[in-house]
Amino acid sequence: MTASLQGIQRRISSTQSTRQITNAMKMVSTAKLAKIQRSGDGYRVYASYLQNVVAHLAKAHLGDVSGTLLETRAAKKIGYLVVTSDRGLVGGYNSTLIKAVMADIQQRQLSKDQLVILAVGGNGADFFKKRGFNVAYEYRGVSDVPDFNEVRGIVKMVTTMYDNEVFDELEVAYQHFVSRISNEVRVVKMLPVTTDDLEAKEENPDTVPPEYDFEPSPEDVLEVVLPQYAQSLIYGSILDAKTAEHAASVTSMSAASDNAEEVINKLRLEFNRARQSAITTEITEITGGMAALED
C-alpha cells in the first residue's frame, strides 16, 4: 500500500502506453476484418455458382466415378490441413483449433504414421513438428487478405498430393467466422468430394433449379468442375479462417485494452491514496512541529 508515488506513476504510464498499443492493434485488425469481409462476398458468389453446378452434376452423373475426385479410396493415410495464424495475440484462436484437431485424431484412433499434417500458418506447423508428427507441407505468411492467386499454390500442392496418394482423405480444420465476437472450430472432410450436403440443400423449394444439357458430356464437365470445386472449398476455408483470425484479434485486443483500462483505474486509486497519506503525514508533522514550538 505504501508504494512510492513515483513507482506508481511509472506503472500507470507504462500501462497507458500498453493500452495505446493494444488499442492501435485492435483498430488495425478491425480494418483488416472489414476488408476481408468485403473480399469474401465476391468469393461467395463464385462458390455458389460452383455448388449449384456440382449439385446438378451429382444428379445427372450416375456413371463411373473412378479416377475422379469423387472416388473414395481405402483411407490408409489421412491428411489434415490445419489452418492457424502465424502470429499470436489472437486469444484462444490457435489453441482451441489445435485441441479440436487432436481430439478428432484421438477419437478416430489414428496413429502418427497414419497421419499427414499440412500446416498453413506457423503456430500449427510448430506445434505438430515439435510433437513429431509427419508435417508434409508447411506454409507461412498468408497475407492479411489472401487472394485466390496466392492461395492457389497451397491448394494446387494439396490436390497434387492427394492425386499422388500421399494421403487418401483430406480433413480441413479451421476456425469458422460466426460473428465479430465468436468463432467455431470446423473439421470438414473435403477430399474426396462428397455431394451429399449439396443434394440436401437443393431440396429448398424456392430455388427450383433448371435442367441443363451437359456439353459434351457430364463426365467431361465433371473433370473440369470437380477440381475447381475442391480448390474453391479449400480456398474458402482459408479465407474463412483468416476472417476469423482478424475477428479473434479484434476481440482479444479489445479485451486487452479493457484490462489495461481497469489496471490504470486501480493504480490511479492507489496513487491517490498514497498521495493522500503522504499529505496527511506531512500535515501531522507540521502541526506536531507547530505544537512543539508553541509550548
Binding site: V45, V53, F148, D213, P216, V221, V224, Q228
Partner: protein, 139 residues
C-alpha cells in the same frame, strides 16, 4: 421473354464479378469440344471451357469485348450466361509485359522439367500466358 434478342453475361471469379454486361447478342466460347457461339434463348446448358478467349458482342450497338479466361466452365439459363473460372481478365486490363515474362518463365520451366507433373504444370502456365497475350494483342 420470347422476343429477347440479347442476354446477360457475367464472369465470376473468386475475386468477385470481373465482368458484367446486360445486352449481349452473341458470345463466342471455346469449350473442350470446340468453338461455339451462343445467342439469346439458347437451351440451358453447362460446358467446360478451355484456357481461351471469350468474345462478347452486341452488333446493334457495335459493342465487343474480349476476355481471357483461365479454364473453368460456362452456365446458361434464362438468358443469363455465367462464366465461372478461377481467373479471368478483360483484354484491355491485361498487363502484356507481365504476361510476356510469364510466358518466358513457363517456356524455360518446360525445358527444364524433370517429370510428367512438372511438365504438365509448365504447359498449363504457358497456355495461360499465351492466352492472355493473344487476348490482349491478337498475337
Amino acid at each position: 421473354m420470347e422476343d429477347a434478342h440479347n442476354f446477360k453475361v457475367a464472369v465470376v471469379t473468386p475475386a468477385g464479378k470481373v465482368f458484367d454486361y446486360g445486352k449481349a447478342t452473341l458470345v463466342v466460347l471455346h469449350t473442350v469440344s470446340g468453338e461455339t457461339g451462343v445467342m439469346a434463348n439458347h437451351n440451358p446448358f453447362v460446358s467446360a471451357l478451355r484456357i481461351s478467349e471469350v468474345k462478347v458482342k452486341n452488333d446493334d450497338e457495335d459493342y465487343q469485348e474480349l476476355l481471357a479466361v483461365n479454364g473453368g466452365f460456362v452456365e446458361f439459363t434464362n438468358n443469363q450466361l455465367t462464366i465461372v473460372a478461377d481467373a479471368a481478365e478483360k483484354a484491355a486490363d491485361i498487363d502484356v509485359n507481365r504476361a510476356e515474362t510469364a510466358r518466358q518463365r513457363a517456356e524455360r520451366r518446360l525445358k527444364e522439367a524433370h517429370d510428367k507433373r512438372e511438365q504438365d504444370r509448365a504447359q498449363a502456365a504457358l497456355l495461360r500466358a499465351v492466352n492472355r497475350i493473344h487476348a490482349a494483342t491478337g498475337r
